[in-house]
Symmetry: C2
Subunit: 294 residues, 2 copies
């Protein structure tokens, strides 16, 4: 990977860890709850969504502190969704990224409440940011809630569960993933461009870019599940094999999935150019998303 | 109870049922998720929080449609907290208000996601309301998140769990309840007065009023748990007796709890006068809260 991008990514990853500590330390939260929230926030997440927020913002503007609360809020929502997803009633996972899941480290009740707390706090974070105008807050909060709620990420979660034990078509698979992971990726890219004062036309192009990037992300996830190395993923490889659940490699074969991925990459890059954002980190992030090994 | 108040309450209860249907019908939500959300939203809640939003608003202003989205959002947050609270990992309740709890009617995964969806959607509802200015949205959303998050309702939930199997002092008991139920009651009263353009001094007095009202609510809840009739409560009477958990009657005796209640009533009414709101429905709501039998 390009060295400059790696340094950029590392900076944001460090910034996020520090930010979570700072934000939560200021608050009067019961010890066990705070511990549980921080445990999952700092459990080695790749921070892909915050990175996208920053890269999208910096494609158009300077002073990235403007997007810090939005990036952190988005990662909190992503983290809450993983905590709830891992619960016994859902995917029943004991490990994630090689570490105990929240309910295994603490207990189920604490995990449920830590998820609820992260989700709720994410909205507070944006709503209380003194660097944002009221209009920016209202716009971001409406979109963030829509992307992560019953028409967005939660809908994807429900449809994904329903698809667990039956075969799905390629169109259904794309629909599930565009809701389950794609909506937050779209929000990340939108938020950065919007706060960076991109034009409406640029934002529209970037939104299409983000849609492709989300699918690219998921195809690579499915491919890694088949060919990835267990240690790198920190979960059982081939875990989607045990049930009927459709994946891109199952529907298209590994080679078909790889060529699908290449197509998304190409489309995403073309859209970046139309959004006047092909000189930004977003361009190399396309390859980063498509070539990641965990 | 005063006939006029009863009619007022009925109107708001009907309005809320209709509002939930209308709001959710407009949205593209997977069937089972929507069904699960509506099931708990329409499971016979008393709508105390929406009633407080409306009564607080109408103490200072006309055109109550201004607070509709806030009232609905608050009831959604209350409902999500009950759904998660009833889960096997938490209170493990099969019935609430005489009806099956959400996870018993559907399943645990659906109940977790319905709760998540209601919480998230509540923020969208306020953020997308065309009757509110951006500044009003930002103010309400920040406060709503703070009241229901890790420093507010969720904190109360955690502390309540921790207090389950040990005795607590009266001060600890008041702390737990002021977080677990009091914070949302305070938000209800704040939101109404704020949107009704009450003065800062009036809002401050009302906030103290709401704090007392929250405690009054909880004392009555504890009293009902001891002496209430099983059918009216729709749950097992004396369910707090099985564990060590402290309640007002346990700490003070029934008579002590009743006189505590009378004190809160008196204090609440005095504060209403100072807030110039003693000609409103809020005054009779104090008695309603203190004398309710379910």
């Amino acid at each position: 990977m390009e060295q400059r991008l790696q340094a950029y990514i590392n900076d944001i990853q460090n910034l996020m860890d520090k930010t979570f500590d700072t934000f939560l330390d200021q608050k009067n939260i019961p010890d066990r709850l705070k511990e549980s929230m921080l445990y999952s926030l700092k459990a080695g997440g790749k921070r892909l969504r915050p990175i996208l927020v920053f890269a999208s913002y910096e494609a158009y503007a300077k002073h990235p502190e403007k997007v810090l609360s939005t990036a952190a809020a988005l990662e909190m929502i992503h983290t809450y969704s993983l905590i709830h997803d891992d619960l016994p009633a859902m995917d029943d996972d004991a490990y994630r990224r090689g570490k105990l899941t929240n309910h295994k480290m603490f207990d189920e009740a604490t995990a449920i409440l830590a998820g609820d707390a992260l989700l709720t706090y994410s909205f507070e974070l944006v709503a209380s940011d003194v660097n944002l105008s009221s209009e920016e807050k209202a716009t971001l909060l409406e979109r963030l809630a829509k992307c992560s709620g019953p028409e967005g990420m939660v809908a994807g979660q429900v449809l994904d569960m329903e698809a667990e034990n039956r075969e799905s078509s390629l169109a259904e698979l794309e629909e599930i993933h565009s809701l389950k992971t794609g909506e937050l990726i779209r929000f990340a890219v939108f938020a950065g461009a919007y706060l960076g004062n991109a034009s409406e036309a640029q934002i529209n192009m970037l939104d299409q870019f983000a849609y492709k990037l989300g699918l690219l992300f998921q195809v690579q996830d499915d491919i890694l599940d088949v060919i990835g190395e267990s240690e790198k993923m920190g979960k059982a490889v081939g875990s989607d094999e045990g049930n009927m659940k459709s994946t891109f490699p199952k529907l298209l074969g590994i080679e078909g999935a790889v060529s699908k991925k290449r197509m998304y990459e190409k489309q995403a890059k073309a859209l970046l150019q139309k959004a006047d954002a092909d000189q930004s980190y977003l361009l190399s992030l396309v390859d980063y998303f498509g070539n990641r090994d965990h």
